[in-house]
């Protein structure tokens, strides 16, 4: 019993022989299609009636079939339309979008943390220090306390981004914190104008409300590491400290509360000496010493 496939195979053979025989014979039917008309038919510019006449002739005339076959073979294969992803302008979409996101994040996130969350974090870290040992240093340089300035800034940025992410979005930000955010770029970009900015920002934390307990817990859960260099003044209630080698803070109640003290340069701070509740000497990484005698409102370079 033959299957349909067997019959189809036989039919293929028959069709090939029959149609080929027509091609090998005279095979010219009526008036042949000239090359110009064939080109127009191939470019689909003929009218519907004209195209139908050509097709009707092509179905019977072996010579014109051969002409068309040769024409088709001489046609360069069409270039496949590039997929959406392959189009050059879309191919760059992802990298461009990623770069734009990074830039937007860079400008949107302030270079200095809001005061309240930072203070909460510091308080949290201070409270956490006696109960648990500090985490091991990530790198030997950190272990030696020789973290480079760039690494320190990157660490600060990560910490800052985490702080912002964890802050409740619906909660309105304290006005003092906003003022604080604006200060650091002024310090970096325009040293001459820094004094005014510093004075404005220095007063801000005093009026800032205390950080909510929820924030404090989140920061504590994250286990962020703070590098704190603290100095005691002769008066035991007066303390000065450097946080993360970039930030100066002052306390007049034995470290219960800390207030931000603006520093005129964005530089690496490595040591601090507390002289009194109003005076302190800060040493920068490049060896210079800055002194203040008015609670950090103004600083003078000693050497």
């Amino acid at each position: 019993m033959q299957s349909k496939t067997d019959r189809d195979t036989a039919l293929d053979e028959m069709l090939k022989r029959t149609l080929r025989a027509a091609d090998d014979g005279a095979g010219v039917s009526g008036e042949c299609v000239d090359a110009e008309t064939m080109a127009a038919w191939s470019d689909r510019t003929l009218s519907a009636g004209g195209a139908a006449r050509v097709e009707s002739h092509l179905s019977q005339c072996a010579r014109c079939q051969a002409l068309l076959a040769t024409l088709v073979r001489s046609t360069p294969a069409p270039i496949a339309a590039p997929s959406l992803w392959q189009r050059w302008h879309l191919r760059w979409l992802a990298p461009i979008a990623a770069a734009a996101s990074v830039l937007a994040l860079w400008f949107a996130v302030p270079s200095e943390r809001p005061v309240a969350p930072q203070r909460a974090a510091l308080e949290d870290s201070r409270q956490a220090v006696p109960s648990s040992p500090p985490p091991p240093p990530a790198t030997p340089e950190e272990a030696r306390g020789e973290v480079s300035q760039d690494e320190q800034r990157r660490s600060d940025n990560r910490q800052r981004a985490a702080t912002l992410r964890q802050a409740p979005p619906a909660k309105p930000e304290p006005p003092a914190a906003s003022a604080d955010k604006a200060a650091p770029p002024a310090l970096e970009r325009d040293t001459a104008a820094s004094a005014r900015s510093v004075q404005e920002t220095a007063a801000a934390p005093q009026n800032a409300p205390a950080a909510p307990p929820a924030e404090r817990r989140e920061l504590s859960a994250q286990g962020q590491r703070q590098t704190v260099v603290e100095a005691l003044a002769p008066d035991p209630a007066s303390r000065w400290r450097i946080v993360n080698r970039t930030r100066i803070e002052r306390s007049t109640d034995s470290g219960t509360t800390w207030e931000f003290v603006a520093f005129p340069e964005a530089t690496d701070l490595i040591a601090i000496a507390a002289l009194s509740p109003t005076s302190a000497i800060v040493t920068t990484a490049d060896g210079r010493e800055f002194r203040t005698d008015d609670q950090g409102k103004t600083w003078s370079v000693r050497r």
Binding site: D8, A21, E36, D43, S59, T70
Partner: protein, 321 residues
């Protein structure tokens, strides 16, 4: 259709659209080319103004202006043609015959385009046959294809018969042929011819492209302006309808039983029949072998270089049948 005069405003607009001034083609010269094109397209018809305008707007005007300028011997136009279109011509020649057999045709065509022939002291360029109905590139390839096919067909007619002592000239020993088998083959030939005659031109043309001209499905699709999967489906459907028509013909016209019909199909596989002229041409044997693979590709496609992407859908399609 009498001598057609196009409106000057239309001619001026098309002249500007074609940027014919770039090649120094005057408005009058371009108007004569446009009128010749309209006369050719509407030969024997009387088109109205809208039809003519629509037709004129569909022309490849830039190419038509270039052809006019080249026919007139404009140097800049020729430089442009040589730079842009001559490589197309040679690439087409190489595609038609990778062995370089069509290169001389391309050279000869190029010479005729330049107008090596003269009549009454004036050059006769082949460009006068270009009417802008297709792109210049397609027209050049069509001209080349026409010459190639005509040469091939002429050479086939002039092929010398083999010498009497040549092996091909020696007739094969007569096989004992079952008279019933001869009847079966004749019947199925007749049935197939009747089925082919019932096909619409496009289906018949598609079959001819596939079986006689050995075009691939992609090439057939390109020729007919359809996707190769569509061409494949049409071919399968046409073949199925032919098979059913043949079976019907054998059953009702030839009064054959199912067993005899099956024997008919078997006979085809065993006996080529009187129409197998290809097999008699020794030079075609290699081509025939490749086409046998190609033919079975429709029924159950074997692996073939460069067609892996096409075989998948066909195989599924036959499975569905």
């Amino acid at each position: 259709m009498g001598a057609l005069r196009l409106e000057p405003t239309i001619i001026q607009r098309l002249h500007e659209k074609a940027a014919a001034g770039r090649w120094g083609v005057s408005v009058e010269r371009f108007a004569s080319a446009l009128e010749a094109s309209v006369a050719r397209a509407f030969s024997g018809l009387t088109p109205d103004r809208r039809q003519i305008e629509r037709y004129l707007d569909s022309l490849h005007l830039g190419d038509l202006a270039l052809a006019c300028a080249c026919a007139d011997g404009h140097e800049g136009a020729w430089e442009h043609f040589v730079r842009e279109h001559r490589p197309v011509l040679y690439r087409a020649a190489d595609a038609i015959d990778p062995g370089g057999g069509a290169r001389d045709l391309a050279d000869s065509l190029y010479g005729e385009l330049f107008g090596l022939k003269e009549r009454d002291g004036a050059r006769l360029s082949l460009f006068r046959y270009f009417h802008g109905r297709s792109s210049l590139g397609t027209w050049l390839r069509a001209m080349l294809s026409q010459r190639y096919v005509d040469r091939l067909r002429q050479a086939r007619r002039l092929d010398a018969l083999p010498a009497d002592e040549a092996p091909a000239a020696v007739p094969a020993p007569m096989k004992t042929i079952d008279p019933d088998r001869r009847r079966f083959v004749a019947a199925i030939h007749h049935a197939i011819a009747a089925a082919l005659a019932q096909l619409v031109p496009r289906d018949r043309f598609r079959l001819a492209c596939y079986y006689a001209q050995s075009l691939t499905l992609a090439e057939i699709g390109r020729a007919l302006g359809e996707h190769e999967a569509t061409a494949s489906r049409h071919l399968a459907r046409t073949r199925r309808s032919i098979r059913e028509a043949v079976e019907r013909h054998l059953k009702h016209e030839e009064r054959m039983t199912d067993a005899e019909i099956a024997e008919c199909f078997s006979s085809v596989m065993d006996d080529a029949g009187p129409l197998d002229l290809v097999e008699l041409l020794g030079s075609e044997s290699a081509r025939k072998n490749s086409e046998r693979d190609r033919s079975s590709y429709v029924a159950d496609p074997p692996p073939r270089e460069g067609t892996a992407d096409r075989r998948g859908p066909r195989r599924r399609e036959h499975g569905a049948e």
